[in-house]
């Protein structure tokens, strides 16, 4: 049985008194232990889709089920890593990682133990007692990842977690995330607009198109890990996806006028 089943999702937003289709008839499955990437241009609804899976947003119609159980709201079984980290500046690194555990009934010592384990996993045990503002952007995102992993979620959701980082830090984190994913055996759904990042990380890449947000194509990635963003095979697959993205965008341009016409 797949870990996560998304069936016939529709979601519309109001924009300037017009209804804009953010998601239209999205169906997909995520297998246990899979590293799935949702990639697409801005406005394709990839973050909306992730928020719906997280339970932070509700679809107009359609359903999301995990292990066969429909999703009702947000929960620690689908921890989400945010683009800005969303770490809590009033807590130190260790306490940030413990936060979710403490909310879910772990005792102080249990939470501390688990937090220590995951801080070790992302290589940050040395700064456990530091305040967040003393950390670099890359370290902060590693804390955010540790905080989510510590909850041992059924599915780890990641919303462009590396997009605010510089290229060098990002490349380090690609290696690290693949390593952490292998060690923890988690299922990951990862949203990005960066095609190369998608191919470097994913087992499978789902390409979304905008207006309305829909699944345009799907690309299995069978390149040997650990992958590096400069690998020739990564570049080649990325090129295919980029090409498909461009095709999708130009076909969208032709149809936009009929689908949505903004006033003015």
């Amino acid at each position: 049985m797949p870990k996560l089943v998304v069936k016939g999702l529709d979601k519309q937003f109001r924009h300037l008194d017009k209804r804009v289709s953010a998601l239209s008839n999205i169906s997909l499955e995520v297998q246990d232990g899979e590293f799935l990437i949702l990639v697409g241009p801005s406005g394709c609804g990839k973050s909306t889709l992730l928020n719906i899976i997280a339970g932070l947003d509700k679809p107009d119609s359609g359903s999301v089920a995990m292990n066969g159980v429909p999703i009702k709201g947000p929960g620690p079984d689908r921890a989400l890593v945010f683009q800005d980290g969303a770490l809590f500046p009033w807590l130190d690194v260790q306490k940030n990682v413990e936060f979710g555990l403490r909310q879910n009934g772990y005792s102080r010592t249990q939470a501390a133990e688990k937090a220590t384990h995951y801080l070790n996993l992302v290589g940050l045990i040395k700064v456990a007692e530091s305040d967040l503002h003393t950390l670099s952007g890359g370290m902060r995102q590693r804390v955010a990842i540790a905080r989510a992993l510590a909850l041992e979620p059924e599915v780890l959701l990641m919303d462009e977690p590396f997009s605010a980082l510089d290229a060098i830090t990002r490349e380090d984190l690609y290696v690290e995330l693949q390593d952490v994913w292998k060690k923890s055996g988690s299922t990951i759904v990862f949203v990005t607009h960066n095609v190369r990042e998608a191919v470097t990380l994913g087992d499978r890449v789902i390409l979304l198109a905008a207006d309305p947000g829909r699944i345009q194509a799907e690309f299995p990635v069978n390149i040997r890990r650990p992958r590096h963003i400069d690998d020739v095979e990564v570049a080649r697959t990325a090129q295919q996806i980029s090409h498909a993205m461009k095709v999708g965008r130009s076909s969208k341009d032709n149809s936009t006028e009929q689908v949505v016409t903004f006033s003015g």
Partner: protein
Amino acid sequence: MADAVKRVAFFAVLILLWGVIAARGVWDSTLFPGPLKVAQTLWEQFHSGALVSATAISLRRVLIGYGISLVVGVPLGILLARQRNLEVTVGTLVSGFQSLPSICWLPLALLWFGLNDRAILFVVVAGSLVSITVAVQDGVKNLPPTYVKAAQTMGTPPFRIYTDVLLPASLPSILTGAKLGWGYAWRALMSGELLFVSLGLGQMLMQGRELADMSQVIAVMIVIMALGLLTDRVIFGSLERHVRRKWGLATG
């Protein structure tokens, strides 16, 4: 260190200037006493215990009133920021009260409570509660929305979103509100004491006026200023420094 030197030098020059002007007798010395006369009065009033007991009474009043405002204002501010229905109803009322100087409540307070401490407490609360509430409300509204979302995805129950996320997250704005509220509480108390209530620093001011003793008036004014500076620098100052360090905000 250099700052402290500058500060002392500035006040020394100011007092010297004051002394020179007073000594030249431009104004009548009963209306414009010099620094020595004021210092003497300050010492006498301090020694007789009048100043100490007046300060204690005023401080007690302001602390109780301010305490009530903090205990009510902080949760109210957080609630107003989070609950749309409360914001459009109670929030509008709060904004309305904000434009009302707290001393305007005095006639009502006198009729409701009579000439006693409860009336003055009411005015103090009316003065500080609203400013604390509004500052906290603004602070919570400006928090990154991802804090709450992150907490929700980590399984935080609704009530603990308030206690474990919104409350600590809004600490910087709570501090701003607390500081603002303290100023308003203190002002409200002084106006109230000046206008009617017995005892306290405000009344000592009025007494000075009635005795035509300007040195007493100025002495009390200096005490009020000193108390204000003390709370601002020592209490709020150190709290602020702590929060700024923790949050990694610029240390001003």
